[in-house]
Amino acid sequence: MRRACAGLALLALVSAVGGGARADEEVALPLVQADVDEREAQDGGGASKDPWEGMNRKIFAFNEGVDRWFLEPVATGWDWAVPEPVQRSIGNFFDNLWLPVRFANDALQLKPRDAYETLWRAVINSTVGIGGLFDPASAWTVVKSDEDFGQTLGAWGVPPGPYLVLPLLGPSSPRDTVGLVVDRAGYVPSYFVPFYVSLSAAGTDIVNERAGALEDIRAEREAAFDFYTAVRSAFIQYRENRVRDRADDPAEDEDEDGLYYYEDEDDF
C-alpha cells in the first residue's frame, strides 16, 4: 500500500516507518525569537504546527543518523541482493497481514463499501495470491484501503495536535502515535508467533520498504533546502489529505491559508 504514493508522499510514509533522515548542517542552529514570531504570523502551515521544533529536530537528526549509518546501507544491500519481484512479494505479504486492521478501521469509519472491498482483498490475496505473496485483488477490486487508526481518530474529529518526530519511527503527531499503538495492538500475527519472529519480520518489512524508496529519498535529500522542513511540510499535508480521504480541499481553507494568492496579483 505504501507503494501507491509518489515522491514526497512516499518519503513521508517511509520515513514514518523506517525513521528519518540526515540532518543538514543548519539543523542545530537556534532560532531567533523574532524570526519564530514572524514565521508564525505568516501562515497556517509548517512552523506554527511545530511548537516542539527544537526537540523534533534533535530526534530527526538522530533518526537521520540511524538511517545513514544503518538502515540505508542495509537496504542498499538488500536491494542489490533481492530481485525486484521478490521485494514486491514481500511487500504484498506484509500488506496482506495488515488487512484485518484496515478492515477494522474501515468499519470504525463507517465505510461499508471499503470494508467489504478490504475483506474481499484479504480473501482473494490469501488464497489465489498464495498467502498474500501476490496481489491479484488489485485487478479486481476498486478500493485499496489505507486506513489506520490515526485516520479513524481524525474522521471522528480528533485533531492531530503538534507535529511530533518519534525516535526510529519518524514523523507523527500525538493523534497518530495513539493510532500506531492501537493498530499494533490489533495486528493479529503478533499474538500467534513468538516475539523474535515478529521482530525479525518487522525488520524485514522495514528494510524491504526502505529498499523500495532508495532513489526517492536520495533525490529528496539532495533537492531539499532544509530536509527537516521539507519532510514536516510533506507529512502534515499528506496526513491531512488522508484524513480527508483524498477529497478536495475545502475552498474556505484555501482562502485563509492564501497559498495561491499574493499581493499585487491583479497587476499581472
Binding site: R3, A4, C5, A6, G7, L8, A9, L10, A12, E26, L29, L31, V32, D35, V36, E38, R39, Q42, D43, G45, G46, A47, S138, K144, G212, E215, A219, A223, A224, F225, D226, T229, A230, R232, S233, A234, Q237, Y238, E240, N241, R242, R244, R246, D248, A251, E254, D255, G258, L259, Y260, Y261, Y262, F268
Partner: protein
Amino acid sequence: MTSDRTPIRFAARLAVAVFALLLAAPLVAEGGAPGARALIEETVVEVLGILRDDSRTEAKRRADLEALAEQRFDFRTMSRLVLARNWKRLSAEEQEEFVVEFTQYLANDYGERIERYDQEEVEILGEQAEPRGDVTVKTKIVGGENDGALVAYRMRKRGEEWKIIDVVIEGISMVANFRDQFRDVMGREGPSALLGKLREKNAKESMPADA
C-alpha cells in the same frame, strides 16, 4: 471523383465539416487556446512521447522537457507564491535572479526524476473550479511503482493561456512544501543566503549534466 463536385455532395461534406467543428469547439476554449483540462491532456501526451523516444539522447530529452515546461508552467507566479511575504524582502534584481534560479532548480530536480516515469500512463479524472477563476485538473498515475497515485495540477489563466502554478501529489503541494522550506531559510539566514543556496544547487547539478 467528379461526382464529389456535385453541389449536393459538396453541401453534405460542408455539413459534416461544420458538425465536426461544433463537436470540437468545447475542447477549445475562448480565444482558440485549449482549456485547462485539454492542455494537461496534451502535455501528458507530449511528455510521455519525449520520455519514450529512444532516438533522442538523454540530454536532448531533458532539453525538450525543459522547453515544454517553460511553456506550460508559470514560473514567475510560482516564485512569488513560494516566497509569499518574503518576496518583498528581495530587491528587484534579487527577485529577477530568484525567478531564473528557481526555474532552473525545478527543471533540474524534476527533469531528473521524471526520467523514471516512462512506464506509467496518466488518466485524467476531471477538473474542478477554484476560487478566483483557477482550475484544478485531477489526474491519476496508472501502472508502475506509483500505481494509483493522485496528481493534481493547479492552473491559472495568463492572458489567453492556462498555466500550471502548482503540482499537488497525494495532497502534498509543491508550492506549500517550498514555501515552508524557504520561510525557514529566509527567517534564519535572509535573502542572500537563500539565493546562494539556489545557485549552489544549480551549479552542482549542471556539471554532471554537461559532461
